[in-house]
Each structure stands twice: as C-alpha cells, then as structure tokens.
C-alpha cells in the first residue's frame, strides 16, 4: 500500500478485510455500512489516524466520493461485498456522496 499525503487507500474485494496498518501501529478502526442506498452511520466522528472502511451490502454498486475538491474520498465503484478503506490522518470534516446515486450522502468528522 502506498501512502500519499496524509491518507492511505485500499479497495478490497469480497471479504472486506481491513487495510494493514503501519509497522507496530494499531490504528483505530471504524466501519460504515452501505445498505438500502444509504450510509450507516451517515455521520461518523473519529480520531485522527482512524482507518475507516465502507462496505457495500447492496446489490447495486455505489461509490464513496468527497463532495468538495480535492476529493480526499474517491472510491471506485464498489460492487456487492466490496470495501473501501481510508486512513484519515488530518482533522477536518469530509462530506461525501455516491456518484451513482447522489441522494446518498454522509459525513466523517476527523478530530
């Protein structure tokens, strides 16, 4: 896995295993589920450095895409069972949506 700027990204198929954390570090983890065309929880607050993983449990693909540029969250289309993991290292608020179904929206606050 590459680490660019302050974030690390992995897209994982199938089982939705979590991204490996750095050597010796045991990062906090948080999960967001996608069910019935909605993110749950839709609002999530985490400590800086937390690995956040989105998992699509719908039969229809979805994306996790930042609302604002630059797009810190930018997943490819997640098929059924796919996961997308990001280490959010910098405090701030990330508003995101699904590029396929833009009525689906969520927020991650990094403290």
């Amino acid at each position: 896995m590459t680490r660019r700027m302050s974030l690390a990204v992995a897209v994982l198929g199938g089982l939705g295993a979590l991204a490996a954390s750095g050597p010796g570090a045991r990062a906090a983890e948080a999960q967001v589920m996608i069910d019935n065309f909605s993110f749950s929880p839709a609002e999530l607050t985490v400590a800086a450095g937390t690995h956040v993983t989105w998992t699509n449990r719908d039969d229809i693909p979805h994306t996790v895409t930042s609302r604002e540029d630059p797009r810190v969250l930018k997943s490819p289309a997640l098929d059924t069972g796919d996961s997308f993991a990001v280490a959010l290292d910098t405090p701030g608020t990330h508003h995101y949506f699904c590029m396929l179904h833009p009525h689906m929206q969520g927020t991650v606050v990094v403290q």
Partner: protein, 328 residues
C-alpha cells in the same frame, strides 16, 4: 394546452393490481396481465387503448397500419448483474432480443437507453453488444450511470456512441428529429441527473432552426421529469431542456433507469420510461430503497421485464408506444 395527465395505473407493473372501476382500474389489471398498452397523443389529448396480447405480439400489426416510422427501445440490460431476482441477465437480454426480432417488422432501428452494463467492464460491454447485434438492427445508445464508471466513460463512448465523445448527438429519420442526451455524469451531491451547461448549449443550437412542426424524440437514461426526488429519479436541469423543446408540436421523451413503465403527458410533451431487460425496481414510495425487487413471485420475473415499440402515427401529432413484457 398545459394540462397534466398522469397515468398512475402503470405502477401496477411492480405490484399487485388493485381492483377498481373504470379505465384506470382496467388498465392496471391488463398491464399486470401482460397486455400491451397502445398510447397515442393527439393535439395534446392523450388517448390509450388496450391491445390484446395476440395483437401486441403480432409483428407490426398495430404499427404498420398506423404509421410510417417504427423503432424499438430496450433499456437497462445491466450485463454483469447476477443477484436475485435475476442471476442470468444475458439470458433475459437474449429473450428480449428474441422478442424484438419477432416484433421488428418494419422497425427502422433500435434504441438502448442506458445501463448496458453493471460495472462498465469491457467483458460486459462485449456480451451485451454480441447479444444485441442478433436483432439485426442499427442501435443508437445513450449511457447510463453504470456505463461511465471507468475513465469518465471513454470506453462506452468509443464503442457505443462513435463520433460523440461525450455521449450526446442527434440525427434525423423520416422527418423525425432524434436527440440523444447524456444525463448521467457530473452528478452533484444531493442532486439528480445532470445535463450540464455545455450540453444544454449544444441542444439549444441543435433545435434552434428547426420547424416547430417537426416531431422530436428525445432519449436519455434518467427521466427528464422528476419521478421521485427522494430516490434521485429526475434530472436537475431537465426543465431547461424541456423549455427548449416546448415550442414543438410533438415531443416524445424516452427514458430508462427506473426499470418500470411510467407515462406522463405535459402539453405537447409525452414522457415514457421503459422496462429493464434485467430486473424490476419498485414504484416510488413502495419500498425502503430503489434497489431491485428481489421477492418477485415465482415465474413472474418476465412480466416485469420487456421491450418497447414506438411508431409514428400517420395524421396524428404524437407517437404510439407499445410496451410488451417478456412473458406473462
């Protein structure tokens, strides 16, 4: 005339028909029973009549008697989708193409109103293209949001809209002007389908010198009218496109995306959405989400999938639209 005529009866395609007296009640039952509905619009006054299954299934029976131009619409083949209620979307697409082949008669061409694939994968495009080719008709495509997931849709446009790098284009056929629009890119958070300023400017230029008496057919994946704000079934700047179209005497807007037949008439503009060839979606407000209807009653899937045939009716300003399901 600006009266609005809604046809809620068509919702019955995704639910049990309700009893009822009069034409609407009858339509519900007949649609559920798998009968075609012939829809004509004349001078802004919508008229519908039922066609017996046998007549609907007879190649060109209604259309050849009525009009000089016919074409077929298919939609939402979602090749790559393999979950309940349909684990064989290539199979149902092939059945749809078989129905097209039996019905095509004098059809001039076919339209595919998007979501050819589930995930924009080359193999999915290959499979769809090979099956659709079996109809032996020229096909005009517009992209669905599932078709432009990779590289801003370049692979889709190169393959399915050659010469139209952004997926919008127009052509004329036997006096009818066809406009293909792309309303599935650059979605905004919280928004609906999107045409964008560049495409609207192109549309304005495309239409500006045309006579108001020329029939116009618009195809786009997401409905240009708002079917459901909550589910994102509409186009944010669709009203701007419709403003450009309103001066024409006959406008027919053909969409997909919602995997069920819905019709609406506003003045001289008739809106119609086609069934999918892959899986049905619920009517707005009848389910927690717009996802596939999974619990389709045994043996009923094919009553919820289908193809659409459109004909220009000689001497009338509108077009006749016949929806035929794949099965009862």
């Amino acid at each position: 005339m600006d009266e609005t005529y809604d046809v809620p009866a068509i919702k019955a395609v995704s639910g049990k028909p309700e009893g009822g007296q009069g034409r609407r009640g009858l339509l519900k039952c007949m649609v559920w029973a798998g009968t075609g509905v012939l829809w004509t619009v004349s001078g802004g006054v919508p008229q519908s009549r039922l066609i017996a299954m046998a007549e609907a299934a007879t190649p060109g029976a209604a259309a050849s008697a009525a009009g000089e131009l016919s074409f077929i619409q298919i939609s939402d083949s979602h090749i790559g989708f393999a979950n309940p209620p349909n684990t064989d979307t290539p199979g149902t697409l092939r059945e749809a193409i078989g129905l097209v082949t039996r019905q095509k008669a004098d059809a001039a061409f076919m339209l595919h109103t998007g979501d050819v694939s589930q995930l924009s994968k080359p193999a999915q495009f290959d499979t769809a293209e090979q099956i659709i080719r079996e109809a032996g008709l020229d096909v005009h495509y517009v992209p669905g949001e599932h078709d432009v997931l990779v590289d801003d849709g370049r692979a889709f446009f190169e393959r399915f809209t050659p010469g139209a790098a952004k997926g919008w284009y127009s052509w004329d056929q036997q006096g009818v002007h066809f406009v293909a629009l792309n309303n599935v890119q650059d979605f905004k958070a919280g928004g609906l389908g999107n045409l964008g300023a560049e495409q609207l400017a192109w549309l304005q230029k495309d239409l500006v010198e045309r006579s108001a008496s020329q029939p116009i057919v618009v195809l786009a994946h997401v409905p240009l009218w708002t079917v459901s704000q909550e589910w994102g079934w509409g186009t944010d700047d669709g009203a701007q496109a419709l403003t450009l179209l309103r001066r024409f005497g006959s406008v027919t807007v053909l969409n997909g995306h919602i995997h069920q037949v819905m019709q609406k008439v506003e003045g001289s503009v008739a809106f119609h959405t086609a069934r999918s060839t892959a899986f049905p979606q619920p009517a707005p407000g009848t389910a927690p989400s717009p996802g596939p209807i999974k619990d389709v009653p045994a043996g009923r899937l094919r009553s919820m999938l289908g193809v659409t045939r459109v004909s220009r009716v000689q001497g009338q300003s509108g077009l006749a639209i016949i929806d035929t399901p794949l099965g009862a």
